[in-house]
């Protein structure tokens, strides 16, 4: 059935088969966007209470944003960018180099290693949070910078999950890069490190970007690990900071929280919209392939 036939569709048939789809679309969009519009309105309200936010866009001021920047919020942004950024870059590098090893070298224990990673993948690291807490508690006595209440320690904890979650994804992509490329480079005298950094990594750059983005969003959305590792107000990430800021004081601090939510969600929303093609592509590729 040619698509033009539908586009040309008119009259009763259009009303019967197509019109309701637009109605559903309107409802769906209101449903999806409403909470976000509400937060935006709350962040611009003057009173900044939960009750005061119930009339959408009653007034538009920047009071809440000014109040937000009197808190530790700017420091939380820096922390989130540093922790999330370092974790994302290191995750990509470590997972990519592991995938390179599995994809390009034949060594004893290769099959075993792949199976092992597949098994590890099944057990979320987050579940071991008590042991992580106790491990960092005793590490604090040895090297304070790797112990509780240290941002570096949190990064190390996140990196513990780097291989398990991403190696397999990358392994598949690395296998799709033809081996003839490496072989030709090898004949030209390139070593394995050169082949990895200058050929393979460049060819799979979009995958690396998506893994980095997902890793960043992952650290951004983590409360349980960040919440038990970080304790001082000035060391928190945005999520933990905002969640603790509003805990028990929903009504009084609603506007400031909304401002924080808007500022931190907007960059992520934009990233998703711009990278939509890759993310949707990745998700559907997974689904179609099974």
């Amino acid at each position: 059935m040619a698509a033009e036939a539908y586009v040309q569709m008119k009259g009763r048939r259009w009303w019967r088969e197509v019109s309701w789809r637009y109605l559903v679309a309107v409802i769906a969009i209101i449903y999806a966007a409403f909470p976000i519009v509400y937060v935006l309105s709350a962040s611009l309200s003057e009173r900044g209470t939960l009750t005061g936010s119930n009339t959408l866009f009653e007034d538009v001021t920047t009071i809440q944003y000014e109040a937000l920047f009197q808190t530790y919020f700017p420091q939380w942004i820096v922390n989130t960018l540093v922790i999330g950024g370092v974790t994302a870059v290191a995750t990509v590098l470590m997972a990519a180099s592991a995938a390179y090893a599995f994809s390009r070298f034949r060594f004893a224990g290769r099959r075993g290693g792949l199976t092992f990673l597949l098994l590890v993948q099944m057990f979320p690291q987050m579940l071991a949070f008590i042991a992580i807490f106790l491990l960092l508690l005793s590490l604090r006595d040895v090297v304070p910078i790797l112990g509780l209440n240290s941002r570096l320690a949190l990064i190390c904890v996140y990196l513990g999950g780097a291989l398990g979650a991403n190696t397999f994804l990358m392994y598949g992509f690395f296998n799709s890069v033809p081996k003839e490329l490496d072989e030709a480079a090898k004949i030209d005298g390139a070593g394995h490190a050169r082949i990895f950094f200058t050929i393979i990594l460049r060819l799979v750059a979009p995958v690396l970007a998506v893994v980095a983005l997902l890793s960043f969003v992952g650290t951004f959305s983590d409360y349980i690990l960040a919440g038990i590792v970080l304790q001082d107000q000035d060391k928190l990430t945005i999520s933990v900071g905002l969640a603790r800021f509003i805990a028990g004081q929903f009504d009084a601090r609603w506007g400031i929280f909304a401002a924080g939510a808007v500022i931190s969600a907007v960059p992520i929303l934009l990233l998703f919209l711009f990278l939509q093609r890759y993310i949707v592509g990745g998700l559907t590729a997974g689904s179609v392939k099974g």
């Binding site: 119930n54 057990f123 030209d188 005298g189 060819l203 609603w254 919209l273 998700l283 559907t284």
Partner: protein, 548 residues
Amino acid sequence: MARMNGRDAADRTSGAARPDPDEAAAAERAAVGRGTTSHAREMGRFFLVKLVILALINALGLFVVFSAWQVGHWGVLAAMVVILVVANWVYFSRRMIAGKYLFPGLVFLLVFQLFTIAFTAYISFTNYGTGHNASREDAVAANLAQNENRVPDSPSYPLTVVSGPDGELGFAIIDDGAVLVGTAEQAFADAPDASITDGDVTEVPGYDVLTFGEVLEQQNEITSLRVGFDDVDEGSIRTQDGSTGYLHRSVLTYDEATGTITDTDTGVVYTDNGEGSFQAEDGSTLLVGWRVGVGFENFTKMFTDSRLSGPFLSVLVWTFAFAFLSVATTFFLGLFFAIAFNHPAVRGRRVIRSLLILPYAFPGILAGLVWAGLLNRRFGFINQVLLGGAEIPWLTDPWLAKLSIIGVNLWLGFPYMFIITTGALQAISSDVYEAAKIDGARAGRVFRSITLPLLMISVAPLLIASFAFNFNNFNLIYFVTEGGPNFPGSPIAVGATDILISLVYSVAFESGTQQFGLASAMAIMIFIMVGLISWLGFRQTRKLEEVL
């Protein structure tokens, strides 16, 4: 083609899985043959970089080894030595090329994932938690220290309050003309370079002497401060006024030979009860206990302790119900939208898709908090505006709270299902639909017999993965309802919407006392269940691949 530089070629080929040979060759020429640097020089540069990085790692590692040795943490020390030896071996060996690429990730994986999982298993067989944190020796010392009284007719010591480099308070006393200084953490030690003026310590190297005003300001901290001597039996010094110290000794004495503690005031003897506490004959125990293995007690307690088993079983049932309903509701709503908008006559499909993806991109924690505000009983938008001031207890009634959780998760989760089902729908060949149409199948029949089965083949593994994810969806539960409303009368803070992972968190950190042993046992149960679910999903994938 000839003018194209390496980067362009790489970019152009990267999107597609299989680059065309011409472009690939260009990429390769550009990447490999750039410039005139010879292979040998290139090697030298790489080697230098490697040397510097390894030197840094070795220096840091040795620092960790040294500090572990200083504080006597043999486990950390041994682990670090092994890591350093293996690192140097792998990176200086000419072989082990795969090892060079695997090593960094594996180290983090071993320490922060595998070790912690094994450690969780170990803790689940102990009574680790509040009152049972340390070794038996530490417990003896802590009990002795907690039960100290001023020794009658004891000598008094001229005392000066000082503060250490990190601001911690300490005492400097004069004992037989010599100055001793110590803090709560650090037993008294000689301070030969301290100066004494008019019978008072006026200066101690490494410490600041507090002024009278500062002493007044921190009166409470100072009167509760205890600075011990090296030997626990010698007791400690405390002060009431910040200028005179008195010797305190414990009313308890520890007998090494019998391993018992005796209260010298009352004569009561406390013996090791085998469960990590000192217990008197009347059943009372000393406050501080220690860590011992308790076998499977933490596991059996969940099912046999009547105060625990009720809440635990209801949490278990709700966890499965929640995960299943989450997947089912989001899948069908996503599928409905996918079918509605996956029609060639609908214009603006890309705009619709971009807008519907919004909840998926909105950070989950913040979304949970926003919905908690929207559903607030007295001030929330839903009750106040949409329902005209009805005070419906969305988050505080057990069943409505469950409904709210499912509802919020529907908002968060349907875009993902919408995306994957749209992709899967587009992958179904239109031939089958035409065949069905020729055979005279109606829309309902086509959906049931063609769309849904074909869709399931590709989507089923993702549904299982989604189930496993929701099984541990801590953020949603914790930020929308905090697991509440709580069951009354339970020894742990647990509520109607708690799922297993939020229950573990609550038992470990938020139930007044920290019960790490019990919480770890629950975490191990989750590990087993999640492992089973993932394994089922994995098998499902394999089976489907065979079918295809």
